[in-house]
């Protein structure tokens, strides 16, 4: 809480802010970082294993093996989300389950399942990208800008 923000509050409100801050559970950053590293690393290692299986047994190349590996991870995530297990892993691992592609699949699947009661068109269809949408919007827009800049630089003869 910045001091500038505090100026607008009455003394009682300021007192409350101080009180609330004191009671706020301390985030155990070090422990959370270790957990994120460990679980995130494991998910990526599983992905690596899947890629190698697809290269070795299904004639994929180094560049194309990522697609089936991602698809398998997404299917597994949807199942784990459906039975409520992903949520439990995520509570333990924090960013370790949010940052890998499984986190993206989890937000899509959990939003879709959660809003089922509102109907399949407006509920499931409308809410599926409620949480995952920003990633796509900002990803696509920034990719558009980056690609245009790079094309312009190449056109001007640089790089």
């Amino acid at each position: 809480m910045s001091s500038q923000k505090n100026k607008k509050l009455t003394p009682i409100q300021q007192e409350y802010q101080a009180f609330a801050k004191e009671r706020e559970p301390k985030k155990r950053v070090g422990r959370n970082i270790l957990r994120a590293f460990f679980i995130g690393g494991i998910i990526c290692t599983i992905g690596q294993g899947l890629q190698m299986i697809f290269i070795k047994y299904f004639n994929f190349t180094q560049t194309t093996a990522g697609n089936p590996a991602t698809a398998i991870l997404i299917i597994a995530t949807v199942i784990l989300t459906g039975i409520g297990a992903y949520h439990k892993i995520a509570q333990f691992a924090g960013a370790g389950t949010i940052i890998p592609v499984t986190g993206f699949a989890n937000t899509v699947a959990s939003a879709a399942i959660e809003h089922r009661s509102e109907g399949f068109v407006l509920g499931v269809g409308g809410n599926m990208f409620k949480i995952a949408g920003p990633v796509i919007v900002y990803g696509v827009f920034s990719a558009f800008v980056v690609a245009l800049i790079k094309i312009t630089i190449q056109w001007l003869g640089g790089m």
Binding site: A36, C44, P134, G139, A143, A147
Partner: protein
């Protein structure tokens, strides 16, 4: 075997960056993932992300920042053959598998599973 080690370490480290953004900078998960995607797109544009994938394999291609890189890569690859319009047609070229399967299997999940709690 070495590949597995670097996938674990690099993938873990990217998740650590995410955890620091969540805990230390107090961003929401949505802000964290969007920031990483934009960073991935910029690194992709600078040509730095592909060497990382070559080095760490799935450790770099599974975290969400590879989504930004893949969007840029698709756009640039199509732009090379079809000109400027390729930026629009190619942007989802590489990431299609991830997005389509998230939609398809996410929908199937909604058909099968009932919400918990």
């Amino acid at each position: 075997m070495e590949k597995f080690f670097w996938a674990f370490v690099v993938g873990g480290l990217i998740c650590v960056i995410g955890q620091i953004m969540l805990d230390v900078f107090r961003l929401t998960p949505a802000h964290t993932t969007t920031t990483l995607v934009v960073v991935g797109a910029i690194l992709g544009g600078l040509g730095l992300y592909d060497p990382l994938i070559k080095f760490a394999g799935a450790g770099a291609s599974i975290p969400i920042c590879s989504f930004g890189n893949a969007l840029v890569k698709g756009a640039l690859a199509e732009a090379k053959t079809y000109g400027l319009i390729g930026v629009l047609t190619g942007i989802f070229e590489v990431t299609s598998a991830g997005i389509s399967s998230a939609i398809i299997f996410g929908f199937m999940g909604a058909l099968i599973f009932k919400p918990k709690g």
